[in-house]
């Protein structure tokens, strides 16, 4: 199994608070990797470091064997695309304008728009089904549409690796499924390597080829979802009693939490 993107002994800290401690991780090429874990386990922090948004306090993130911190950021941007958790669009920007900014790493001052740019943007917008919205203002879109526009921007960047930080947060269930299906399509049809941070363990188990479970800044388990997701792991990582059954649709593990609280019946 080859990996273009790896972390070696990665330690991450905000000011003097260590969030991730000596983490080793290899992102399998051409697969969908999903990182899960409880709140504040360092999963988003790890993703940010994989996308060089956060400088390691120790260890390194390697892209094709070279340390990210030592590569020119524009060169990284041609290989790794990243969508932050809560991106902010400039006021009144149109959908077409925003998506076209994904071409930034391929452009220069004297080369502001090429046929390649045109093709990539058109393709990204069709793939995410936002072509019809091109002239609309991003402010005026629904949450689901807006998320698709941001993904389109990241796609227009045309990178082999795509990192998405909780792309389903704030979306209702149908939009969540839509976004995750889009991610899988990109992976299956275009061979893109995708890394997602997700909150929902069941969605993670459904869509991941490779699942990484984190707790307190460390990787607790990783591998195919059916091997990783067990009642013991859920208890260990999330502190939750549950029953794991096969998903009736996909057969992937489905976590069903234990019985909800109820008053004891006293005779």
């Amino acid at each position: 199994m080859s990996s273009r993107l790896t972390a070696r002994g990665l330690t991450l800290a905000y000011e003097d608070r260590t969030v991730v401690d000596e983490l080793d991780l290899a992102i399998p090429d051409g697969k969908v990797t999903v990182i899960v874990g409880p709140n504040a386990c360092g999963k988003s922090t790890t993703l940010r470091a994989l996308g060089r948004l956060l400088r390691p306090a120790g260890g390194a993130v390697l892209l094709d064997g070279e340390e990210l911190a030592k590569l020119p950021t524009k060169r990284i941007a041609r290989s790794i695309g990243l969508l932050p958790q809560t991106p902010v669009a400039p006021e009144a920007i149109t959908v077409g304008d925003l998506v076209s900014r994904g071409r930034q790493p391929h452009q220069a001052w004297w080369k502001q728009w090429s046929e390649e740019d045109e093709r990539a943007v058109t393709d990204a917008m069709e793939r995410t089904d936002v072509a019809a919205l091109a002239d609309r203002s991003v402010d005026a879109l629904s949450g689901g549409q807006r998320q698709r526009v941001w993904i389109a921007m990241a796609l227009a960047q045309e990178t082999d690796l795509l990192l998405l930080d909780e792309p389903t947060t704030y979306l209702d269930i149908s939009h969540q499924v839509e976004v995750l299906d889009l991610v899988r399509r990109l992976n299956r049809l275009r061979g893109r390597t995708v890394v997602l941070v997700l909150h929902d363990l069941n969605q993670a188990a459904r869509y991941a080829d490779h699942l990484v479970a984190m707790k307190a800044g460390r990787v607790v388990a990783e591998g195919p979802p059916e091997e990783v997701v067990t009642a013991e792991l859920v208890r260990d990582v999330f502190g939750l009693e549950s029953v794991v059954v096969p998903d009736p649709v996909t057969g992937s593990p489905l976590v069903v939490p234990g019985a909800p609280w109820h008053a004891e019946v006293v005779r």
Binding site: L53, S100, Q104, W113
Partner: protein, 352 residues
């Protein structure tokens, strides 16, 4: 150039020149054309009006180099001051646009975040110590403005530039520096205080070719930097994480943009004093006209130039023969606008 074609980024056209290709926002190009016409009309009017009225056609003929009995009044008295007004207005427009872009806040203009005040305190101090020449003062006020900006930048830096911090620290510095200026003015003698007071309001009175030379040279020398900035602005208007993910070296780009903006605003302040609210107003007016996602630089420059030329025209004639400092007029228009901007941003949570 082989003409423009319609492309994806809605509202843009592509201009190809040799191997290069440039994105042009079509609405901005139209607005720039309109502003240019307006500026030409205002400039001709500026040259016509004065103690003695000279007809527009005669003004145009004088500008084309034909001799005329009014040539002295138009070309020797009014034209140098017009050029100063144009240059100062354009520089304030660009300076304000760049600082607002980096701070992502329409309130962040050089005259709000301490740059004008930095220029002011050094200039007034110099006047107090007997340096009163309009040819020497600009250089001192440039130093003051750049120094104040550097201090604000350093104090607002905390592992990155936080936009709100930048503005609040700037406002703090502005207040501190203003009180320091007042201190110098009360210390100095009566005549110096009066001269300083007029300078502090922003005035183009007595600004000829020599006095406007620093700002004209600065604009010319900074032109490549401004062209770079016009493009670099595009990425800085996105949030930090997204911009970094797109391969933008955010720290450097921001520092570069602020540096260009601060130098232009400081030199303009050095030449004409802090002409209040031009740097604040012009970029916002321009952006409302072009409806672009970032503040349009060329249109900001033109809007700034139009504002200063028209304001100075009114300042010269409104209470003639008394000439008002141009800053009085820009402040009269700018202050209500500032209040409106604050009220609006509180209700709508708007940002630059």
């Amino acid at each position: 150039m082989s003409g423009t074609t319609v492309v994806r980024p809605a509202g843009y056209g592509v201009v190809r020149a040799g191997r290069g290709s440039f994105l042009v926002h079509r609405r901005s190009a139209l607005v720039a054309g309109g502003l240019l016409l307006l500026l030409a009309a205002a400039s001709v009017a500026y040259l016509c009006v004065g103690e003695r009225f000279v007809g527009p056609s005669e003004v145009v003929r004088i500008l084309l180099g034909e001799s005329s009995p009014s040539a002295f009044v138009v070309a020797e008295l009014r034209e140098p001051r017009l050029v100063a007004a144009l240059a100062v207005g354009a520089a304030f427009g660009i300076g304000g646009a760049l600082v607002q872009t980096v701070a992502r806040n329409p309130l962040a203009s050089p005259d709000i975040i301490g740059i004008s005040q930095g220029a002011g305190v050094v200039t007034v101090a110099a006047m107090t110590f007997g340096i009163g020449s309009y040819a020497a003062l600009p250089y001192l006020s440039i130093a003051g403005g750049v120094l104040a900006a550097a201090l604000v930048y350093v104090f607002a830096w905390r592992g990155g530039l936080h936009a709100t911090r930048f503005v609040l620290i700037g406002i703090g510095f502005a207040i501190a520096l203003r009180s320091l200026t007042t201190l110098f003015m009360t210390k100095g003698d009566y005549l110096v205080a009066q001269q300083a007071q007029i300078w502090m309001t922003g005035s183009l009175n007595g600004r000829g070719w020599d006095e406007s030379a620093p700002i004209r040279w600065t604009l010319l020398l900074m032109l490549p930097a401004v062209l770079w900035a016009a493009r670099a602005q595009r990425t800085v208007s996105l949030d930090d994480d997204t911009a970094t993910a797109l391969g933008v070296r955010l720290g450097r780009v921001r520092l570069g943009l602020v540096a260009v903006g601060v130098v232009l605003a400081s030199v303009a302040t050095g030449v004409a004093g802090p002409v209040d609210f031009v740097a604040l107003l012009a970029p916002q007016i321009a952006r409302r006209m072009t409806r672009t996602a970032q503040i349009p630089l060329l249109c900001s420059a033109l809007a700034g130039a139009v504002t200063v030329v028209v304001a100075d025209l009114l300042a010269r004639r409104l209470l003639s023969p008394v000439e008002l400092p141009v800053g009085v007029l820009t402040a009269a228009v700018g202050a209500p606008y500032l209040i409106w901007l604050i009220v609006r941003s509180r209700t709508a949570g708007g940002n630059a």
